[in-house]
């Protein structure tokens, strides 16, 4: 395993050293939904494939809560493969021989883009909880600045799952003229009460860790590893499904033939979750987890448009493809269908596919041939309409 002490890189790349990483906003501060502005901010990103002469083949892939800009290939920090290896590459649905794929670490993140673990220029100390609260719209505004910097006026497609899907919806609502097609996957136009509740459990776990130090753990030289690990464990359950957990682990015991009448990880599922928690701590910042989960909680696209979701998409020229998975109980089909209904209500150009899968919310990251086939068809249809060859 990549997280074994023997295989761990000797000197881990620091997120602020990841390239490319561009500092933006110096001449034009970024206004945030909370009312503050960021006078300068860094965005770390990756690109795959080449931009054509017309600059018309760019696809922005938006990562999920704990994802980052490393869509494919070896991750310089974790050593693992990218989060969408199955989707992006030559001959794959997001074909790098045809398209220029961009993925940026979100504002508020911890893989090179400005977030709470960075130094606040005003104090010379890590921002911690003095970092402004970020929203999905702020993340998208920052991405739009990155596209300005890259000289891309209009995206061929913006695509993403989960929190990435929220960004896709925000892109289509805020910048319809800059988006030709949009693929929100396994997401919702607002975070549900149940999902806010799960996030709150995670945040409380972090804040209950004495090593969190009221958010000042970097200054104190500590890491709230236990809290962040528990947050990840709880969240990870929501990414799977009962049937996927049962298929993978059942009630199988971990390296033992009988239960031990104690609180060690008797069951494989416990061992698996502990592993998920402990490896997460190595690559993710606890405060960034607080900020990004909050951004998702605050997302409510209809609320910004008079309480009517359809108003967010009135007259939209964007071609949409909404995708959900049957066993996803975090962002169930009903939430995705609500987006489709809103798009229908403005007679938008929309496709909607519910993919049969028992893998839960994480299905959008996994090998689902039906998902890939429909996505390839949608992309091909859009490319034809866009005149891309």
């Amino acid at each position: 395993m990549a997280d074994s002490p023997l295989l761990k890189p000797v000197a881990r790349t620091r997120p602020e050293d990841l390239q490319p990483r561009i500092v933006l906003g110096q001449d034009n501060p970024l206004p945030l939904d909370c009312g503050l502005t960021l006078a300068s901010f860094a965005i770390a990103y990756q690109t795959y494939g080449s931009l054509n002469a017309e600059r018309s083949n760019a696809i922005l892939a938006c990562h999920a809560l704990t994802g980052d800009q490393y869509v494919v290939g070896n991750h310089p920090v974790t050593g693992k493969s990218g989060w969408w290896d199955m989707m992006v590459g030559p001959g794959k649905p997001l074909d790098t021989d045809r398209f220029f794929i961009i993925c940026a670490n979100v504002l508020g993140g911890c893989m090179g883009s400005t977030g709470p673990r960075d130094i606040d220029p005003a104090t010379g100390e890590p921002w911690g909880l003095s970092f402004p609260v970020i929203t999905i719209a702020d993340m998208v505004r920052a991405q739009a600045r990155l596209l300005d910097h890259l000289g891309i006026d209009k995206l061929f497609c913006v695509i993403g799952g989960s929190m990435g899907g929220m960004q896709v919806l925000q892109w289509a609502a805020a910048y319809p003229e800059r988006v030709f097609s949009a693929v929100p996957i396994a997401c919702a136009a607002r975070h549900s009460a149940q999902n806010i509740a799960f996030h709150e459990v995670g945040r409380q776990a972090i804040m209950a860790d004495p090593d969190w130090c009221g958010g000042n753990y970097l200054k104190e030289g500590r890491v709230p590893a236990r809290g962040l690990s528990v947050a990840r464990m709880a969240a990870h359950i929501t990414y799977l499904s009962e049937s996927a957990l049962h298929r993978k682990f059942g009630r199988n015991l971990q390296d033992r033939s009988a239960i031990t009448f104690g609180f060690d990880a008797d069951f494989q599922v416990e061992s698996y979750l502990r592993h998920q928690g402990s490896t997460f701590v190595d690559r993710f910042d606890a405060n960034a987890y607080l900020y990004i989960t909050r951004a998702m909680d605050y997302f409510d696209l209809a609320a910004e448009h008079g309480g009517v979701l359809a108003n967010a998409f009135r007259q939209t020229p964007v071609r949409f493809c909404v995708v959900s998975f049957t066993s996803d109980w975090l962002f169930p089909t009903s939430e995705n269908r609500a987006i489709v209904h809103a798009l229908n209500a403005v007679a938008a150009n929309v496709s909607f596919v519910e993919v049969e899968s028992d893998k839960g919310h994480d299905a959008f990251l996994l090998d689902e041939p039906e998902f890939f086939a429909t996505l390839s068809g949608f992309i091909a249809g859009c490319a034809e309409h866009r005149g891309l060859n």
Binding site: R319, V322, A342, N344, V346, S351, E354, G381
Partner: protein, 211 residues
């Protein structure tokens, strides 16, 4: 099932009723095909009439096949999902061989003429002489080439005759612009005599609009 669309795609030949529907549609118009099946009509319209087409299909397999072919189709149910569309959103709304499978055919028809400036509805005619004969002579629910399912497993829950449909259109104040009966050999006949059409039409095709 009996109402599933299975248009042959390879040579762009489509089922006879779909061809008649396609012939009614003006080039470059906006079309919503409700119950679009595998997308044969939408593909034909996009290819030959430069139509801006959308589809609604209840079967997930049908939707996935359509989207994989580059068509804009959503998974949905004519009974519950077309109410979201705004008035006059499309030039034509097509309901091909699907009306008899809906729970509320009357309400669906009302939505069709609300959403579209024109609605095109095709359905199997339960008044066809062969159906009447089958029921009269055998005392059993009719099974024909067009309606091959058993009574207990058919998805067609609201059969009607051409005369019944015509009467419903009058009831809900929908104007019939054109009515065509398709005989067993596939020949389209303009409906002049309702009695004859109701006897010899195996399928019917109506072009509707709000008065």
């Amino acid at each position: 099932m009996d109402a599933t669309r299975n248009g042959a795609r390879n040579n762009h030949a489509i089922r006879v009723d779909l061809q008649l529907i396609a012939d009614m549609i003006q080039p470059k118009s906006r079309v919503l095909d409700v119950g679009c099946g595998d997308g044969a009509l939408l593909e034909y319209l996009a290819h030959f009439k430069q139509v801006d087409g959308r589809g609604v299909e209840i079967s997930q397999a049908g939707v996935n096949a359509c989207v994989a072919r580059g068509l804009s189709v959503v998974q949905g149910d004519a009974d519950t999902d077309i109410k979201d569309y705004p008035d006059d959103a499309f030039d034509y709304v097509v309901l091909g061989q699907t009306l008899q499978a809906t729970r509320h055919p009357r309400s669906v028809t009302e939505h069709l003429v609300r959403i579209g400036r024109r609605a095109i509805v095709s359905f199997p005619n339960f008044g066809h002489w062969r159906v009447r004969w089958h029921l009269a002579a055998n005392g059993r629910m009719p099974e024909t080439d067009l309606l091959p399912a058993k009574w207990y497993n058919t998805e067609n829950i609201h059969f009607c005759t051409i005369a019944d449909f015509r009467a419903m259109c009058d009831e809900i104040d929908v104007e019939v612009e054109r009515a065509i009966a398709i005989t067993a050999n596939g020949a389209p006949q303009r409906i002049l005599s309702l009695r004859l059409a109701n006897l010899f039409g195996e399928q019917a095709l109506f072009l509707l609009k709000r008065p």
